[in-house]
Amino acid sequence: MSFDNDILKSMYVKMLLMRKFEEKVAQLFSEGMIHGTMHLYVGEEAVAAGVCTALGDHDVITSTHRGHGHSIAKGAGLTGLMAEMLGREAGCCKGRGGSMHFADFAGGNLGGNGIVGGSQSIAVGAALAAKMKKTGGIAVCFFGDGAANEGSFHEAANMASVLKLPVLFVCENNLYGMSMPLSRSMNISDIAVRASAYGFPGRTVDGNDATAVYRAAEDARDYVKQNGPMLLVCNTYRISGHSKSDTNVYRTQREIDAWQAKDPVLRMAAFMLKNGFSQAALDEADETAARDIESAVAAALQSPYPDARTVLDGVYA
């Protein structure tokens, strides 16, 4: 099947930015420049890139604790994200949110969430608003395999179904919720089965293949607009540790290596080379992405830390 070159390029650039953004923040973290913790998306970039590239202007997303990739894929400004990581006033949340709370309401990202499962019904509400306001948009809810075990998933899925709301539930199945393997957190192997409990379709796709994710998301979006919710499970793998405190005791290096070999960014590059892109074009994209990240860091570092005297500002509207 042929693929629009612009779309391929766009996805590839997003994936490069995600990867380089996180390489950079990992480095800044190890240099003591970043406070707190972070949840890296390394290895899962194809999901956000594929899904978000398939979305339109009126579509919104809800994100997670592992949301750097969602934000970048949905088009948030890199300086705002980097400054947010660094806790600066120029951050997308003015340094108040940090890594888990990237948000870009102007761009349709309703925000990350530190609560696993916390955004599922929020996406339902966004879809309800879209329906009531007749925007024609859909709401995409990203969540993890672990989050699929929260009661919030069940309630949100059922609510969306009975109200026939345009919600696309995107389960990023990276096989673990922290140290808990999927095989021990649920007794089913295909999470998409869960959709049948709510009377809507569920579909599973290779989450390391951005083009497959894109096509599935495009189809799902059409379906959702017409019919109400759907579940799209993207099977992928978290290459990084769960968070900065993870020592990976619950999995083998072999397993990590095997998935590293399926790196979605390299896979995308290979696909593009096969589909008419030159190595030079890819190299250029790579360099541009690297430059974009560097300049985001530079700009972010220019920004001051918030003035402690403003700590109370903005609790209420």
């Binding site: 003015k94 608003a129 309630e155 903005g314």
Partner: protein
């Protein structure tokens, strides 16, 4: 309120506030369990389905967490949802959405967004509904920055405050009093609103200040009348909104009388009365106090079923009167 003012129930007053705001603003809608054809477990939304249709009076599955979360998501996207928890006790299922999401989003997202929603909770005991259907949980929400908390005591306040709550750009927890739903009171015909954060002195007096809210206000007013016949002048201050709290009116009254009794139905320990007492004890009114600050509150006990026990678990006129006598000693 004038003698000619029409009398309607607390439930009707709430219904009117919702209906008027829904007529005025297409972004306002109501959602909850059995709010449609059933008209709400207490009949508060009776007739609204007929007027506004199922698109704006939304019956939901029994999923409190998703009700609250759906309201949050809709509010983020420009709607002004009113969500109902049939009994306030069920809010325990929806706390994440209220506390971690609605309350924090504006601040946590650096002011990008506001969350204009109202969560209506039917609270309190007195209906024989026992431990899991009778709680007064307002203090929890007062302890969550980002929320506003309202507890109206009369039909007039209920309507005027709910109008303001719906128009407010922040998440507002609106705690209704089940035992007041059928009580009537004067409510203006014409449109009005009552600002959040302004206490109302329900009765002026000079000897002792009673701070009470919700269903404790009519109870305290009755006690105050009794004392009036004995020549004791009792002031009854109803804060109406707990957050934001009108501390000025409270401390002014405390200064004036020098004797303060706080009355609420919620159980005593870590109830909102403690905050009021602490505020006064930490304020300039402190030096004007003639007696320790007293509280008459619900006992620290789950609300029992048996009627006599249920009555004993919450403030009675006798306990309030006794406390006033102690204060005056």
């Amino acid at each position: 309120m004038g003698a000619l003012m029409r009398q309607i129930t607390y439930a009707n007053a709430i219904n009117e506030a919702m209906s008027e705001e829904m007529r005025r603003d297409g972004n306002v809608f109501l959602m909850g369990e059995d709010v449609g054809v059933y008209g709400g477990a207490f009949g508060v939304s009776a007739g609204m389905l007929d007027e506004f249709g199922a698109e704006r009076v939304i019956d939901t599955p029994i999923s409190e967490a998703a009700i609250a979360g759906t309201a949050v998501g809709a509010a983020l996207c420009g709607m002004r949802p009113i969500a109902e928890m049939m009994f306030s006790d069920f809010v325990t299922i929806a706390m994440d959405q209220i506390v971690n999401q609605a309350a924090k989003m504006r601040y946590m997202f650096g002011g990008q967004v506001s969350v204009p929603m109202v969560l209506r909770l039917a609270g309190g005991s007195g209906t024989g509904a026992a431990a899991q259907h009778s709680q007064s949980l307002e203090a929890w929400f007062c302890h969550v920055p980002g929320l506003k908390v309202v507890v109206p005591s009369t039909p007039c306040d209920a309507k005027g405050l709910l109008v303001s709550a719906i128009r407010d750009d922040n998440p507002v927890i609106f705690v209704e009093q089940k035992v007041l739903y059928k009580e009537t009171g004067g409510v203006p015909e014409e449109e009005y609103s009552i600002p959040l954060g302004k206490a109302d002195i329900k009765r002026r007096g000079s000897d002792v200040t009673l701070v009470a809210y919700g269903r404790m206000v009519p109870l305290c007013l009755r006690v105050a009348e009794d004392f009036a016949t004995q020549g004791v002048s009792v002031e009854v201050v109803d804060p109406r909104t707990l957050v934001p709290l009108d501390t000025e009116t409270l401390t002014a009254s405390a200064k004036k009388t020098g004797r303060v009794l706080i009355v609420h139905e919620a159980c005593r320990t870590a109830g909102f009365g403690a905050e009021i007492a602490a505020l006064i004890a930490g304020s300039a009114a402190f030096s004007r106090l003639k007696a320790p600050i007293m509280r008459v509150c619900g006992l620290d006990v789950p609300i029992p079923f048996s009627p006599g026990l249920e009555r004993a678990a919450v403030p009675t006129p006798e306990r309030v009167a006794e406390a006033i006598r102690v204060l005056l000693k």
